[in-house]
């Protein structure tokens, strides 16, 4: 289908972008920021969204790139998934981001789609929001008023709704680089012909002498926002990882994962009903911890 008509603005600088967005916000215009467009353009074509104008940030080089800042890695909002995957800094310092990004859509979409765009789109079925939540990323946003930081736990507000206010633009994400001793995995269940997660699990596990000391688990598509599996994080502390992934009756990791769906409200759609998603959350969390804890 053909999108509904809209105006198009391509600011030449971040300042100009903030100015344009600020003016639109104060006049109440329904403008959308265009980054890579890989989520937005399908929505426009299906006429699920019909903004009055698009503000295209696609040509702002200052929003692109990956920077190692010691305790965290800063990923510019306009960095494409393909660029994230090609970054040695990402692979070495924040491997969970690389693991999850590799499962996003397909190569052609990853050439256009951006790291910040997937976050600001705030789709609970997107892979990267669950990673951001699990790692306690910090979102750096700017407006005409200046800059502010939003922790991941407050950034994802509801289905396709982030904490970005009208007039604000996401300029990048601080991804904490967890130290040695941490292992990572992103486990995703999806139809072969379609990369959307039916359920996904982002796991970061710190282990020492065969025991799990700390785990951070983010769930994809188990509610209207990404969700932390706090019950598992609490239950898994001090558990031996030797038996993880085994089918024996006494797998303490499996026991700890029984609460993976606690506090979630998974959606029902043509791919899965809520009870099946709850089952998947438990099974996939067990698998993810098994691999991350290796």
């Amino acid at each position: 289908m053909i999108p509904a008509p809209f105006d198009y603005v391509r600011p030449a600088s971040l300042d100009e972008a903030c100015q344009v967005l600020g003016e639109a916000a104060s006049s109440g215009d329904d403008v959308k920021v265009l980054a890579g467009g890989q989520s937005l353009l399908p929505l426009l074509r299906l006429r699920l969204a019909y903004p009055s104008a698009l503000v295209d940030l696609g040509r702002l080089p200052e929003l692109r790139g990956v920077e190692d800042r010691g305790d965290h890695v800063f990923i510019g909002a306009l960095t494409t998934h393909d660029e994230v995957l090609r970054s040695g800094v990402v692979r070495e310092r924040i491997p969970l981001v690389a693991l999850a990004t590799a499962t996003v859509a397909d190569p052609a979409v990853r050439h256009r789609g951006t790291f910040g765009g997937s976050m600001a789109h705030a789709d609970p079925a997107g892979d990267l929001p669950a990673v951001a939540l699990a790692l306690d990323c910090v979102f750096v946003v700017r407006s005409g008023e200046g800059e502010r930081e939003i922790p991941a736990a407050e950034f994802f507000v509801d289905y396709l709704e982030s904490a970005l206010e009208p007039g604000e633009v996401l300029i990048g994400v601080k991804v904490p680089a967890l130290g040695p001793g941490w292992g990572f995995h992103y486990e995703k269940f999806h139809r072969t012909a379609q990369a959307w997660a039916i359920v996904g699990v982002a796991a970061a596990v710190r282990r020492s002498n065969g025991t799990i000391e700390e785990a951070r688990i983010g769930l994809t598509n188990m509610g209207s926002t990404p969700v932390r599996a706090r019950a598992v994080e609490a239950a898994i502390r001090g558990v031996s990882i030797a038996a993880a992934g085994s089918n024996g009756a006494h797998d303490p990791v499996r026991d700890a994962c029984a609460g993976a769906d606690e506090g979630t409200s998974p959606p029902s759609d043509l791919h899965a009903q809520p009870d099946y998603r709850r089952h998947l959350a438990r099974v996939l969390t067990h698998r993810a911890i098994g691999v991350a804890g290796r």
Partner: protein, 172 residues
């Protein structure tokens, strides 16, 4: 209405476009490049894959204005005169199609995946083509064709073998 400059298959065009015009509609409806089909219209199937500045993109998920100043190559820009691109030839020889609807996108995605791996394994080919759907379920022949096309492309890039390949092509 924004005016854009875009090069498509080696020819530079200046076009006044509505912001909502999709790249695939510019190619098909304005420039007559109907070799690029529209499949699912939701960014899923990959039938409309073209190269944008040397990287594969789904032209149903790019606005024409986003391609301003860029270089586009479609399936129609691959052949040299009457001689097919090695990947086109390989698809023909391996019978890598039934209905042919996915073929232009498959060939563009196949050429793209060789940027990273000029001699891809079967697994690499299958992963590289994950965004391109063939509903005739002909993937076995497609994978064979991509690997064959890859071999022929790397032979061509070696000058001493180029002549020989050319002779083979001309042999009836």
């Amino acid at each position: 209405m924004p005016r854009i400059t875009v090069t498509v298959d080696g020819i530079t065009y200046q076009e006044d476009v509505e912001p909502r015009l999709l790249l695939v509609h510019l190619l098909r409806d304005r420039l007559g490049k109907t070799g690029t089909p529209i499949g699912c219209d939701t960014g899923n199937c990959g039938a409309c894959t073209v190269m944008l500045d040397g990287m594969s993109v789904k032209s149903c998920s790019v606005l024409a204005v986003q391609a301003d100043g860029n270089d586009v190559v479609t399936i129609e820009g691959l052949a040299h005169g009457n001689e097919w691109h090695p990947m086109q030839k390989a698809f023909h020889e391996e019978h890598a199609l039934q209905c042919g609807y996915c073929t232009p996108g498959m060939i563009m995605a196949a050429i793209d995946l060789l940027r990273d791996d000029p001699d891809p394994s079967e697994e690499t080919v299958r992963e590289g083509l994950e965004g391109n759907l063939c509903r005739c379920t002909g993937y076995c022949n497609i994978v064979r064709a991509v690997r064959r096309g890859a071999r022929e492309m790397s032979q061509r890039s070696m000058p001493e073998q180029a002549e020989q390949t050319e002779r083979e092509v001309r042999t009836p």
